[in-house]
Each structure stands twice: as C-alpha cells, then as structure tokens.
Symmetry: C2
Subunit: 258 residues, 2 copies
C-alpha cells in the first residue's frame, strides 16, 4: 500500500513580521537577457558591475505592488533606460546556493566593491530569479555607454552568478518559440528583406535561399514595401520594408514557419 502523506491541506506560511516591511520581495529578483541584432551577430547587453571588472545581466528586485512583467519592465528601464520593449519570461532559476556556488571569487570582488557590509548575506538573497528576455532594436541603444556593452553571443565572458546559464537558456527559448515571437523587434523600423533573412539565419544558425525566403515571408502579408531604398552600397539598392503590426500579430498567433 502506497503511503499517502496526511498534510493534504494547503499549508499557509506564518505571517511575516511586517514592521520593517520592505516594499520589495526579498530573495526574489528579475534578471533580463536583452537581445539585439547587429550585422550578423546576435548580441546581449551586459552591465558592468560598479567599480569592478565584472559583468552581469541587468537585474533588480520585485516590488509587492507590481506584477513580474511590470518588474522586468521597470528593471530594464532603470538599469538601461530602455523602455516599452517586448519582454518574455523564459525560466525561473532557483538552484541551491546558486549565487554562492558560481564565480565565488567574482562574487567576493563584487561584495568588496559594493562597499556595503554584506558579507555572507548574499547567499541568502535573491535565491530565486525569474528570467526574462527582451527583443530590442540595437540601433536605438547604440552607441553603448561605458557601463554597458553589447556583446556577441559567442563572446560572452564569465558573468556574475549563474548569468551565463540565463543567456544560454534564453537563447534556447528564443529558438524554440521563434515561430511565435515578434523577432522583427530586433530590427530597425525600416529594414531590408536581406536583414530579416540574416536575422533568421543567425538565430537558427542555418542558411536560407534568398528567393525561397522572400516567398515564404510574403505569404503572410505583414511586410509593407516602402517607396524608399537603402542607398550607399556599391550595388543595386535594396527595398526597405516595415511591419504591418496588425497583420504581424495575426500571423504570429498561428506561427510563422520557416
């Protein structure tokens, strides 16, 4: 006979002492992987940890007065100035001592540089992090300021804590959900078909035939051909396109095949 435990009722937590109530939820943070696209590279925006040589992802805590999505959006705005972007939750991380285990020497350095008297507390803080990724227009936040740096996916250094895992898993999620994601948000408002193709090729790490790709995209009718062309190259200037937002969203409902 299988043993069935008897505490089958919902176990309510003890009420916390709210006297020194912080508006933020302790031990929970939101960490953001910000994707941008430039030339043929998928890039991630890294943030330099104050007064140290280390890099991390933008992160922050969650207020009790906001939803997770709002928190992610706010954190992004506060740390980078980027607002109003597409954000997608992809995974929540909560390994034991994950802030302690990874990059021990980095963590120590950061603690020292942060000039606060927090020595051991870090390992008990932000034990759980909700990962979001953002799709942003690279050009809108370039050139980077010295505290931030766009970094190609393939060249990302060791990051603080387990942030390298965040980047890896964000990329996995991005690839998996590609059919349903508005990846055009990684492009500038006006773009060429070739740029869009490059974007797909970079994310999926495969090549498309120019003509077939063209046909494929045109099926969905969310591309508006502009009367402008992009001059400057020593070649026939390509047409510029922009997105018909309504039609794009409709197409994304069903998924865009490739």
């Amino acid at each position: 006979m299988r043993k069935i435990y008897t505490n089958y009722y919902i176990c309510f937590h003890q009420p916390r002492n709210m006297s020194n109530q912080n508006i933020n939820i302790p031990e929970v943070s939101v960490d953001c992987v910000i994707f941008g696209f430039h030339a043929t590279d998928l890039k991630v925006l890294l943030l330099k940890v104050y007064d140290s040589e280390y890099w991390s992802l933008p992160m922050g805590s969650v207020s009790r007065k906001e939803s997770l999505g709002m928190a992610a959006s706010r954190v992004l705005e506060e740390t980078t100035g980027i607002g109003n972007v597409f954000l997608q939750q992809f995974q929540t991380f909560g390994a034991v001592d994950r802030y302690k285990y990874y990059s021990k020497e980095q963590t120590k350095a950061v603690l020292e540089s942060s000039k606060k008297e927090v020595t051991e507390s870090l390992s008990y803080q932000s034990t759980i992090s909700i990962g979001y990724y953002a799709l942003v227009d690279f050009e809108k936040i370039a050139p980077p300021f010295k505290e931030y740096q766009w970094c190609a996916i393939s060249e990302i250094p060791n990051l603080l804590f387990d942030h390298n895992d965040f980047v890896d898993m964000a990329l996995v999620a991005l690839r998996k959900d590609l059919r349903y994601l508005p990846i055009a948000k990684l492009l500038p408002e006006k773009f060429t078909l070739r740029e869009m193709q490059k974007l797909y090729e970079t994310i999926l790490d495969r090549e498309f035939d120019r003509r077939n790709f063209h046909k494929l995209l045109m099926r969905y009718e969310f591309l508006i051909k502009l009367p402008e062309k992009r001059k400057g190259g020593a070649n026939k200037p390509p047409n510029l396109y922009k997105i018909d937002v309504d039609k794009y969203e409709t197409a994304l409902q069903d998924g865009i095949s490739y």
Copy 2:
C-alpha cells in the same frame, strides 16, 4: 538625449533578519498541474482544500536547501504520494495581489476553515508561484482517494486563487513543447498503438489516420513490440508495446513530428 539612470550597479538587498529564520522561502511557492490520461480524456489531479468545498492544485513552499525542481518533486510526493515523475517548469506567476484578487469568497472560506488566525496575511504570502506540470501514469494513482480527484480538463471547476490560469497555461505549454516531451509517461508501461494515438489526438484536438500514425511512430524505432496482446474487446486483440527508453530520448532530442 535619452535619460540613463545612474544606479547601474547591482543593488544588493538589505540582509534580512535571520533570527526567526524559516527554512522556507517566504512568499514563494511551487504549484503543480498533474496531467494524467484516461480513455479519451486528459485529466488533472485536484486536491480538496481541507474542511472546505474548494479545490486547488497541489502546492507547497520552497526550502532554502533545495532547488526548484527538487521542491516541486517533494511537494508532489508530500501531497499526493506520487514520486519519481517527469516534471517540467512552465511559468512563474506573480500578478499583484493575485491571491487576493481571485476567488475572494473562496479564499475567505479557506482561511476560516484552516482555523488559523491569518486574516489579511494571505495576500502577502506566496506572492510568487512557480508552475510545474507533471506527466504521470493515470493508472498508478487510481483509484483516487477522496481528498484527490482526477478531473477532465474540460470540466475543471473554479479553483482557488489563480489556479485555473495555471491549468490553462500548463496545457498551452504542453501543446507547444509536445515534440520534445516524453508524453508516453502519460501511458501505462504497456500500451497499444491506438492508445498512443488517442493520447496525441486528445492533446492536439485533431485526428490522425490509423495507418499513417502507425508508419509515423515506427520510423523512430522507440516502440518495442511485446509478445502479449490486450484481450477483452469484441475484436482482434491489439498488440502491446513498451518504450525503448534510450531510443525514445534520442528521438525526443530532435523532436517527434506529427
């Protein structure tokens, strides 16, 4: 000129007062959607809230000494006795006051029935819940005990808090990731091709041709034909199959098309 905020360093939380330290992380829970499959129905295991008429999903808090996956596994074991199952994190929920906002009268009833003097505290507790779904063999935990009830997806009543959202989103995630998920875990160890087909048909809400489905599955070579047949019906007894675990996992890496 875009305004860039200056707090670009990582903001460490104030250390919490650890004197009345609870081993569990307050305000965080793990909630489980347990999928089972019976006849032609996809079902979810619901848990009756102690001494009330309401139902909820199995849930519990997360210890600081365990990872999220371990917590989900433990919660499942503790509440239902089910162990060693496939668990998949699908989404983390954290809307403002989501425990207060949903099912106000239900929450109240539960609070009263729980016979604890927690009145307002609930709305500040378990603000964030990490959703996992499990794929289990329906037969192994049937017949249900009175505190639990298998409930067909289409007949789920109003659940506590925002647990209806959990079920909806778990199903969306299940459908989306179907190609990569070991949904055979929803079947008994020995099963017929027809049962597997029904399973796919139920999850995807579409029909397959018997012969084509047969061909499709056989391509992957993860089905082992057993010398047994399932007798009982007024017809030719169908063959029984079991899974070749190694080959199944290999096939799932690349995804099983349908």
